[in-house]
Amino acid sequence: MGRYIASRTGSSLLVLLGASIILFCTIRFVPGDPITTVLGSAGIANPDLVARAITAYGLDKPLPVQYVAWLSHVAQGDFGFSLVSGERVTDIVARRVGPSLLLGLAASVLGLGIGLIWGIAAGYLSGAARAVLRAAPMFVLVVPSFSVGLALIFAFAVSLRLLPASGLSSPLEGDHQSLASLLTHLILPALALCLVPASLVARLTYATIDEVEQEEFIRTARALGVPAARIAVQHSLPNVMLPIITTGGLLVSALITNAVLIETVFSWPGVGTMMVTAVQQRDYTVVQAGILVVAVAYVLSSLAVDGLYLVVDPRVRNPPNT
């Protein structure tokens, strides 16, 4: 098992390294010198920043040297300065990571919960309800998530005026936000974001339930009158965890993609909106930092999911022929 963990961590790191090289090179190969491109032909928007950037990153040195320098800065948490505002990128990212994590976690938990319930219902109900519940995930996956977000805003914020339409906090609160306020701001975006993972989980759940129900001993148990609920809890559910975990990477990836869209719809002050604004402004240092942070988060969560897999599946823990 130790070898498994080590090899997975190792390959993750290698992959991250490769990703960082791609990231670094693509930004450097932007048509025209990135710094001057941002600042336009007049080149004097903020010469102090240009000078700082050029000396800090040795833009005149050969590419591999630049890469190593960049990587070492990044490892120390120094992402440079925003090309637009001059602020330290680390500070910008630090501000934004919290809200994104909060939204992501809330959506994951909600998604898992809703997905399981949905999948169980789809697995055990019959007739029209069964057909609808089973067809629904595909529909949810193709309806644009930002539209769902807009629909929620329209229903709950605009029409019913029950919940706030955007942002993380109300203006009057500033630094002292109550938990209740945070929750009311979190509900709609989390709900909008959780639907894609929920439908993926639902599909996996009812597929697993179908499989389990086919097993001989389950059919025997049913015939003998064992309640469906007990079967579900003792056999189906534990088996569901495995495929959910194996596709965990896919779930996180879908979550990240939709998170950027949902953050935009709800003006959620997270990493997603930070990157979108930065791309529009050609603020390369911020874009780089954002992509790196998210890529690292993705790889880490994949690793964590693999770790969970170890815990859950004893066959992986003790492979038969080590």
């Binding site: 791609i22 309806v143 807009l150 996180v252 719809v265 874009v287 998210v294």
Partner: protein, 289 residues
């Protein structure tokens, strides 16, 4: 035909007639019908609409659904929503179809080569694919947009790059399982070169899967690329695609919700059509074996 047609006895006679195939394929026909309807509507857009998509008419700003001359309403500049929806058809469809097709074509090629070649080539290719996979779709799109600028072409490149790995993986695993079948070994023994084997034997066998997956992808791509346009990284205003329409409509959510919701529904309908088409074909294939 194998015993796939699990029909009730009374329908047995029906299936012998040509109505039978239609009944089995009805979902596919509906899906194709929907897609065709949009394309025909686009072709006939000059007849269906009174105003062009870019005609600014300040006096007709923010008309509601059902207004004379603009059955779906108008936006803040008085532009007709129906006209703009139709103008978006080629952009949205292309934006979805081209990356799906290219992503499958290139991805399948990569997967075939990796699977068949094995060894170092395979490991190298898998490594590169893994690296690409660390970038969730939207990050790749952001990266490409940051470097090359935000435009429709660049967004298509980004989208193609992001579905490449999954397609490559899929085709590669199919190739791996086919590689050791007897007919492949036989060809190799007969002296056929790798290119010939890939083209004549492997490709035809992976093609059905590839087509079905690609068709599902079109549906997903239409939605995802609309998302890119929504955040400003795809089609640029004043050019129109449905994602741009939703973004513009979002600003008027309080006063004119139709501007955001009608394009959203259109995106959903067209995506569902493609996905249903693929789903149906996949189910039919499965039931045939």
């Amino acid at each position: 035909m194998s015993g796939a047609t699990a029909v009730r006895p009374t329908s047995v006679r029906w299936s012998a007639f040509s109505a039978g195939p239609v009944m089995r394929h009805w979902r596919s026909f509906v899906a194709i019908g929907v897609i065709a309807a949009f394309m025909i509507a686009w072709l006939g857009r000059d007849f269906l609409t009174e105003f062009g998509p870019s005609a600014v008419r300040p006096a007709r700003a923010l008309l509601p659904v059902g207004a004379p001359g603009s059955p779906l309403g108008t936006d803040g500049l008085g532009r007709d929503l129906l006209s703009r929806l139709l103008a978006g058809v080629p952009f949205s469809l292309l934006f979805g179809a081209v990356p799906a097709a290219a992503g499958m074509a290139i991805g399948a090629a990569i997967g075939l080569i990796a699977g068949f070649a094995g060894g170092k080539i395979d490991r190298a290719i898998v490594g590169v694919m893994d690296v690409l996979l660390t970038f969730p779709f939207i990050l790749l799109a952001i990266l490409v947009s940051a470097v090359l600028g935000a435009s429709l072409q660049n967004a298509m490149i980004a989208v193609t790059l992001s579905i490449l790995p999954k397609n490559a993986r899929l085709i590669r695993s199919q190739t791996l399982s086919l590689k050791h079948r007897e007919f492949i070994t036989a060809s190799q023994l007969a002296g056929a070169g790798p290119v010939a084997i890939i083209l004549k034997h492997l490709l035809p066998n992976v093609l059905p899967t590839a087509l079905i997956v690609a068709s599902t992808d079109v549906g997903l791509m239409i939605t995802l690329t609309a998302g890119l346009s929504f955040i400003g990284l795809g089609v640029q205003p004043p050019d129109v695609d449905w994602g741009v329409l939703v973004a513009e409509g979002a600003r008027y959510i309080t006063s004119a919700p139709n501007l955001a919701f009608i394009p959203s529904i259109v995106i959903a309908i067209v995506s569902i059509a493609f996905v249903a088409l693929a789903d149906n074909e996949r189910r039919r294939r499965r039931s045939r074996h």
